[in-house]
């Protein structure tokens, strides 16, 4: 048997899986986006779904909100991850235990953690409202998921919470991989901690930072459970991202054609973003000397 035939045989099962579950549905989504498919049947209607979508000012709000949601959440995750990893990297007694305590959000079903947050945000009995009242910071109960702005930022906080442990542990591992000689040389030269962090730690772990940023960005863009369980996209659309909007149109209202057009837009936006980012990643890797 030739080497290439053997290679392709080994890959075949993976291709079959991806073909059935990803590639074929993707082709179908594109086809459906040109139809008015619903439970009743489907007719070819050309670009009508897209025309309707792009003439709807609300849709631009949703696109803008999705990118804002993604950027804000990813930046916060990276910042939290850097802070957390630096703290856990400090040589203090108890660090082994602290590292274990970061893990729980990572190893439970996301939906379960979100149910906990939903309670925290509750205005009647939630801890956040209760503590704010006890401290006298607010007069009345604050129902964080009930007003537009607070609901959006509450969802961001929950998304950051879901992503923080993984980012933290990856950064921590990268920090531990940085050669001690670099730090020692800098230390001998009298460089302080902050200087060593900025000039050694950050550049050394930069490849990990940028790859975690891309992964987090894709996950956050596609994140469904968090918003769906907290607010189902409300109040009055304040937390409706592209994914939520697509789910509502396609599954809740069963307007398959219109939903498919939204799904195609998501795929195109993510593809453009990823290509852009990979180009950037390449530059970063060159600059910092990683392969």
């Amino acid at each position: 048997m030739s080497e290439s035939l053997f290679a392709w045989l080994l890959i075949a099962p993976a291709i079959v899986f991806i073909g059935f579950i990803v590639a074929w549905p993707l082709v179908e989504t594109i086809r459906l986006s040109f139809t008015d498919a619903d439970l009743g049947g489907e007719n070819w209607i050309g670009w009508a779904n897209y025309a309707e979508l792009f003439s709807d000012p609300k849709f631009y709000d949703i696109v803008w909100r999705t990118f804002y949601w993604m950027f804000l959440s990813v930046i916060l995750k990276l910042v939290m991850g850097l802070i957390g990893a630096s703290l856990l990297n400090a040589a203090v007694p108890g660090k082994a235990l602290f590292r274990v305590l970061v893990m729980p959000p990572w190893v439970i079903p996301i939906a379960i953690g979100v149910i906990g947050w939903k309670w925290l945000y509750n205005g009647y009995f939630g801890l956040i409202s209760g503590v704010l009242q006890n401290l006298g910071l607010v007069e009345d109960r604050v129902a964080l998921l009930a007003t537009k702005t607070s609901a959006f930022y509450s969802a961001v906080v929950t998304d950051v919470w879901v992503g923080t442990p993984m980012v933290t542990l990856f950064f921590l591992a990268a920090m531990q991989g940085v050669s001690r000689d670099l730090y020692e040389a800098a230390w001998v030269d009298g460089a302080g901690r902050w200087y060593r962090f900025r000039r050694i730690t950050i550049p050394q772990i930069m490849p990990v930072i940028v790859s975690m940023a891309l992964l987090s960005a894709i996950w956050t863009f596609n994140s469904f459970e968090i918003i769906w369980i907290l607010t189902e996209g409300g109040p009055r659309g304040a937390t409706t991202t592209l994914i939520i909007d697509t789910y509502k149109v396609a599954i809740s209202s069963q307007r398959f054609g219109e939903g498919a057009a939204r799904a195609v837009v998501i795929v195109i936006l993510l593809a453009i973003f990823s290509l852009f980012y990979l180009f950037f990643l390449n530059k970063v890797n060159k600059r910092y000397g990683a392969k």
Partner: protein, 281 residues
């Protein structure tokens, strides 16, 4: 060593920082536990208090009555994640070997296409996926939650395992070939035993992925209660008018406990393995 020494003030600062960071990470768990200890009527009517005298573990007994299928949900979650992990590994191992060791046309293009799958989630492809599941007659079965899960975890699995396999020295395989062993025999008897640590790490990461995301496919492709995984099963109760919150929280905490304990006990090995990709560069 001297460089690592902190002044007392710095030490206090670090501990305060760690405390705040861990408080954020563990806050929902702390709150879920607090809620699970309080009687329902007190929970809803009384003003917020940190501590109260009526704490009890009653909800941990009552929940089995309120959520009769709770035990089933917990097992379903573990079963689905395990099945996804096994199927994913069966598909990933040969493919990863192929990418690590063999040379064939369109190698990097096809690997790139696999990785591009990471850009999609089930949510984008739900409509046709629903039809595929219906056509295959898989709706309302475990398969409806297992098969899509496998597909979306394959690309990362291939990527991770490939980098492990690349680190195994080639000489052993070459020796096997010289002795006349077939490719398949070499893969099974030489490469796989050497790759066991890597296999464990990749399987763990697949399991975490499969366990964390048991919601969308479950609420969309399955309406059979006995088959629901924990998150979807509990979510149904939260939709009711009178939610017995204390019991829901008790159920949620109890439900995640087995897997969480498993990971916390093994964390030393897992974190090192899972994040190995981060250090490699």
């Amino acid at each position: 060593m001297l460089m690592d020494r902190y002044s007392l003030l710095q030490k206090i600062g670090i501990y305060i920082g760690i405390f705040i960071f861990l408080l954020f990470v563990l806050l929902p768990f702390i709150e879920m536990f607090r809620v699970s200890l309080r009687p329902l009527d007190h929970l809803m009517t009384a003003d917020f208090t940190w501590w109260s005298n009526d704490f009890s573990f009653q909800a941990y007994r009552d929940m089995w009555v309120t959520v009769p299928l709770l035990g089933r949900y917990i097992l379903n979650s573990i079963f689905i994640a395990t099945a996804v992990t096994i199927m994913t590994m069966v598909v990933v191992v040969p493919a990863a070997y192929s990418y690590a060791r063999l040379d064939f046309p369109f190698k990097s293009l096809s690997l790139g296409l696999f990785l591009a799958v990471n850009m999609f989630t089930g949510a984008v492809l739900l409509i046709p996926l629903y039809r595929v599941m219906r056509t295959l007659g898989l709706l309302n079965s475990y398969w409806a939650m297992i098969i899509p899960g496998v597909a979306f975890l394959i690309p990362t699995g291939i990527w991770l395992l490939r980098s492990y396999l690349e680190k195994i020295p080639k000489e052993l395989e070459e020796a096997a070939y010289v002795d006349g062993a077939s490719r398949m025999y070499t893969l099974r008897r030489v490469v796989l035993p050497l790759a066991v640590p890597g296999l464990i790490v990749v399987a763990t990461s697949v399991f975490i992925g499969a366990y964390a995301q048991q919601f969308l496919f479950a609420i969309t492709f399955n309406n059979q209660r006995e088959l629901q995984p924990l998150p979807a099963g509990l979510f149904e109760f939260i939709g009711y008018q009178d939610v017995t919150w204390n019991q829901m929280m008790a159920a949620a905490l109890t439900g995640v406990l087995p897997v969480m304990l498993f990971f916390l006990l093994l964390q030393k090995y897992l974190v090192a393995g899972l994040t190995a990709g981060a250090v490699k560069e």
